[in-house]
Amino acid sequence: MPVRAVSRGELAPGILRGGLALVALLTMAAGDASNGRAIIANRQLSACLLCHTGPFPDPHLQGNLAPSLAGAGSRLTEAALRQRLIAPDPDSIMPSYAATAGLHRVGKQWAGKPVLTPQQIDDVVAFLVTLRAP
């Protein structure tokens, strides 16, 4: 799978603060939006809906710790959405979906692995951009 390095210019300044070298590992393949939707809807896999609400089944099982994902694609550019997933603000409770370093006591079965693979992140981003405000 082709990988490319991300140039500094593509990312907002916050991303560099986290010291996340793995940011470089972004796939070039276009994301699969329908797979991205399935990843978000799968709370065991992505945990998104533990915190977020959004246009998904079972709204009573969605958290309210974070803004609704509805309309996210209208509020944020694709690059900003990607940055959210890879290097959220360090003060945010939202985890980095790409980080494998700078974490404490990661459980054995998750150690050294990011929450989502680069391809899965692409898929999620591809889906998020489709979430337009009505």
């Binding site: 958290g63 710790l65 974070a66 404490h104 006591r105 990661v106 459980g107």
Partner: protein, 248 residues
């Protein structure tokens, strides 16, 4: 404006341990509370009854029961659970009630250890805990382990990189998936959880929360677990013991 509202709410997030203490009981549904309020309907009492029977059952080569040394638990164990964890004089380290009971079992009765989370261990702990029901938690906070426990509570951990405090101090009352985040107090343990369909110890609960953020849980008898349990009890000072509580 409507769009900004969630963000404004997030900005109003509190910092530091809760000032107005709310037991997990207060966040539970009316049915769950009713179950706890009725000793006949509270499934935790199945374990309490087992513990009560065990209290006067001899075990080990000395043929001693808990009652041989402690007599009537309703007298000798009254108020004990409200003072634990405490700093053990012999080791100068925090000692949980579960651990203390385990020590009496292995050292004083010289009987084989009761496996953690076994019905026997939970029953004894529940029976001892019940003798303090309604009394305010009042743990000695004058030791350095409290600050150590607080540090652990406030340290982000696991692949999801969350601290206990980010949920239980800062976001209590908000919803994580479908569950209301309680302030996270230890005043009901061991307790009956509907999710477990069983009684469980505080250790088990903390293990669940740590695995929930994909962290490696502290081992049950580790200094970290004891410090965390101590900090939780200090943080909940004044809340009444509810053992055996019922929670979702």
């Amino acid at each position: 404006m409507k769009r900004l509202l969630p963000l404004l709410l997030l900005c109003s997030i509190a910092a530091g341990p809760p000032v107005d203490l709310r037991s997990g009981y207060d966040d539970a549904s009316a049915e769950t509370r009713a179950m706890q309020d009725d000793d006949g309907g509270n499934p935790g009492f199945l374990w309490v009854r087992e513990g009560e029977a065990q209290w006067s059952q001899p075990a080990g080569p000395l043929g001693k029961s808990c009652a041989s040394c402690h007599g009537d638990a309703t007298v000798s164990m009254r108020g004990v659970a409200a003072r634990y964890p405490l700093i053990d004089k012999a080791t100068n380290r925090p000692m949980t009630l579960d651990r203390r009971i385990g020590e009496c079992r292995t050292d004083r009765q010289q009987a084989e250890a009761l496996p953690p989370e076994s019905d026997a261990a939970l029953g004894l702990a529940a029976y001892v805990g019940l003798q303090s029901r309604g009394m305010p938690l009042n743990v000695d906070a004058d030791n350095p382990f409290v600050a150590a426990g607080r540090r652990l509570f406030e340290t982000r951990m696991g692949q999801l990189n969350l601290s206990c405090a980010q949920c239980h101090d800062d976001r209590a009352g908000m919803k994580l998936a479908g569950a209301v985040i309680p302030q996270g107090h230890p005043n009901g343990y061991p307790e009956y959880r509907l999710e477990w369909q069983a009684m469980g110890s505080l250790n088990r609960r903390l293990r669940n929360c740590m695995v929930g953020v994909r962290a490696e849980p502290f081992p049950p008898d580790s200094p970290e677990m004891a410090a965390l349990a101590l900090y939780l009890a200090v943080r909940a000072k004044g809340l009444k013991v509810e053992t055996p509580a019922v929670r979702p």
